[in-house]
C-alpha cells in the first residue's frame, strides 16, 4: 500500500498532534514553507543594485547590535576613558550611520517600485514603522552619550516632547530611563519589526514590475508574465 502524499498543514493525514501547538506548527509551515522562506531562486526581475540595500540594512543593524552589546558589557561610561572603548563607540556610530543610510535608500527604492502592491501593504507598514522606531533608537543613543551633545540634545528635545504631552512619561533628561529605552526597549521593537518585515517579504515574494509599456488593460497575471518573459 502506498502512503498518500502529505502536504504541509494536513494534520489528520500526517498524524500530527492537535491542539494549539499543532495548529501553530501547521500554520507556520503553511505560511512559510521552507522553500519559500529561504529560496535559492528569485524572479528574473530581481536584478538591480537596489535590492542589495535591504540586506545591507539588516547587516548594518547586526553590526550596530554587536557593537552596542560590547558597549553594554563594559558599561555606559567605559568609552570615555578607554581608547579601545572609544573605537568601539566609533564602530557603533558609523554602523548606525550606515544602517540609516541603507534603510533610507531601501525605502526610496521600495517607494518607487510601489512595493505595497499585491497584498504587500503590511510589508510596507512594518518597514515604515521600523524606520520611525530606528529614529527613536538612534535619538536615545545621542541622549545617553554622557557628553556635551547629550546635554544639549536632551535639553532641546524636551520642549518638543513636552509640547505634545509625551514628555510627561518619556523624560529625555532622565539618563537611566533613556538608557533602558536605547539598549532594551527600542532595539527589541526594531528587531521584532525587522523580523516581521522580512517574514512578510518571504511570504508574499518580491513585488513584480509594473506592466510593460505596450500592455493595455489590467496588469499581467503571473502566467502572462511567464509568456512575455
Amino acid at each position: 500500500m502506498t502512503a498518500a502524499p502529505v502536504s504541509p498543514g494536513d494534520a489528520s493525514a500526517a498524524g500530527e498532534s492537535g491542539g494549539w501547538t499543532g495548529w501553530v506548527r501547521r500554520r507556520a509551515l503553511r505560511s512559510f514553507p521552507p522553500d519559500q522562506l529561504l529560496p535559492d531562486k528569485q524572479p528574473i526581475y530581481v536584478a538591480s543594485w537596489i535590492y542589495v540595500f535591504g540586506v545591507a540594512t539588516i547587516a548594518a543593524f547586526i553590526v550596530a547590535l554587536t557593537t552596542g552589546t560590547i558597549l553594554a558589557v563594559r558599561g555606559p561610561a567605559w568609552w570615555h576613558g578607554s581608547s579601545v572603548g572609544h573605537f568601539v563607540n566609533s564602530l557603533h556610530l558609523w554602523s548606525v550611520e550606515l544602517f540609516m543610510a541603507f534603510m533610507v535608500i531601501h525605502l526610496w527604492g521600495k517607494f518607487f517600485m510601489a512595493a505595497w502592491r499585491g497584498k504587500r501593504a503590511l510589508t510596507w507598514i512594518t518597514g515604515a514603522v521600523s524606520f520611525l522606531a530606528s529614529i527613536g533608537t538612534a535619538f536615545t543613543g545621542y541622549l545617553t552619550q554622557q557628553n556635551l551633545a547629550s546635554q544639549w540634545v536632551s535639553t532641546q528635545a524636551k520642549d518638543g516632547l513636552n509640547s505634545v504631552g509625551i514628555g510627561a512619561y518619556f523624560n529625555v533628561l532622565d539618563f537611566g530611563q533613556m538608557l533602558m529605552w536605547h539598549i532594551v526597549l527600542l532595539p527589541l521593537g526594531v528587531g521584532v519589526l525587522v523580523v516581521a518585515h522580512v517574514l512578510l517579504v518571504r511570504r508574499h515574494g518580491v513585488v513584480p514590475p509594473f506592466p510593460p509599456k505596450d500592455m493595455h488593460g489590467p496588469e499581467p497575471t503571473a502566467a502572462e508574465g511567464a509568456v512575455q518573459a
Binding site: 524572479p43 528574473i44 536584478a47 573605537f87 518638543g160 514590475p209
Partner: protein, 324 residues
Amino acid sequence: MTAATTRAHRRETDPTAQPWAGPKRPYDLVKEFVVALVVVSILTVILAALFSSPDDKQLTLAQWAKAAPNDFVATAATELDGTSGSATYGAPYTHDKSAAQKIGPLAPQNWLGVTIPIDSAQDFVVRPLQGAAVSPDLQAALKQWTSGSADQQQKWAAAYDTALAAVPDTDPAKIATGDYGPVPVMMTQLLALAQSGGLDGALLAQGRFYQTDYTKPLLFLADGTYLEDLARAQHLGGDQWGMMNETGNYPGQAWLWLYTFWYQVKPFSTSGNADALVWSVMALLSLVFVLVPFIPGIRSIPKLIPIYRLIWRNYYRDVEGRGA
C-alpha cells in the same frame, strides 16, 4: 456580491498578489547576507578608523560656575524668584496651565498634568544650600529666608533679580544697595558651592544614594546661557539646524532633516507654539508615510515618475524587446 466578497475576489484576481510563475534566476540569499555582513563590517571599521567619533566633554555645574559666574548667579536669581525658564515652564514641571504650547485650541502639554514637579527656588537654591549650611553666615541667611513669609521671600528675590539684571554683565559685585534680605549671601554661597562641585552632587542626589535621573541639573544648566553659548559655537542651535547636527564635523542625525527644517521657516520659526506645531506636522507626515499604500494620489506617484523603469530596466528591455 458583498463588499467583503468583492475584496476577496479582487485579491484573488490581483496578479501582483499571486506567486511569480515566470522565469527565475539563481539567487543565494544566504550568500548575499554573508557578503553584505562582511562588507558592512569592513566599511564600518574603515569609517571608524578614519573618522573616529565625537566626544566633547560634558559641562558640569562647577565648570559653568567657574567659567561664567555672573551667568550662574543671574540664573540662580531667576530660579529663586520664579522667573526662570524651568519655573515658568508649565507641565510637566509646574502647574501654570497658561504656559503650555497650543495647537489651535488644544494644549496636549497639559493633558497628563505635572508628572515631574519642579520647585525651582527650593530644588535649585534653598535645599542645596540647606545641605551645605556649615558657615554661620549661610545658616543665618537661611534662617532669615525660612522665617520670612512667602510674600517677603518673593520681594527679596525679585528685587535682587531686577537689580542684578540692571548691572552690566550681571556682575553681583556691582549691584546697587537695596532690600534684598538674605539673598546676596545665599547667591554668594550657592556660587561657592557650585564652584566647589558640591552643587552637581546636591542637585543629582536629592536625598537618594543611587540616582540616574539628571532632570534637575540639566534644567538648571539649560536655564542659563552658558550651555547655549557652547552649543551655538558647535552649530547646534535650533536656528542652526541643530537637532540634526553633531559636535565637530560629524554627520549627526541627518535623518532628522525634515523635523529640523520646519524650525527654520515661518510660521514655525517665529511661533511661540513652534514645538507643538512642528510635532503635529511631523506626526501627520509620519502617519501619511506609514499609510502610503492606502492614500490615493500618493500611492500613484511611483507609476507617474518612471524610476521603476530604471530599477527594472533589464526586465523591460527583455519583455518589450521581445514584444517589438
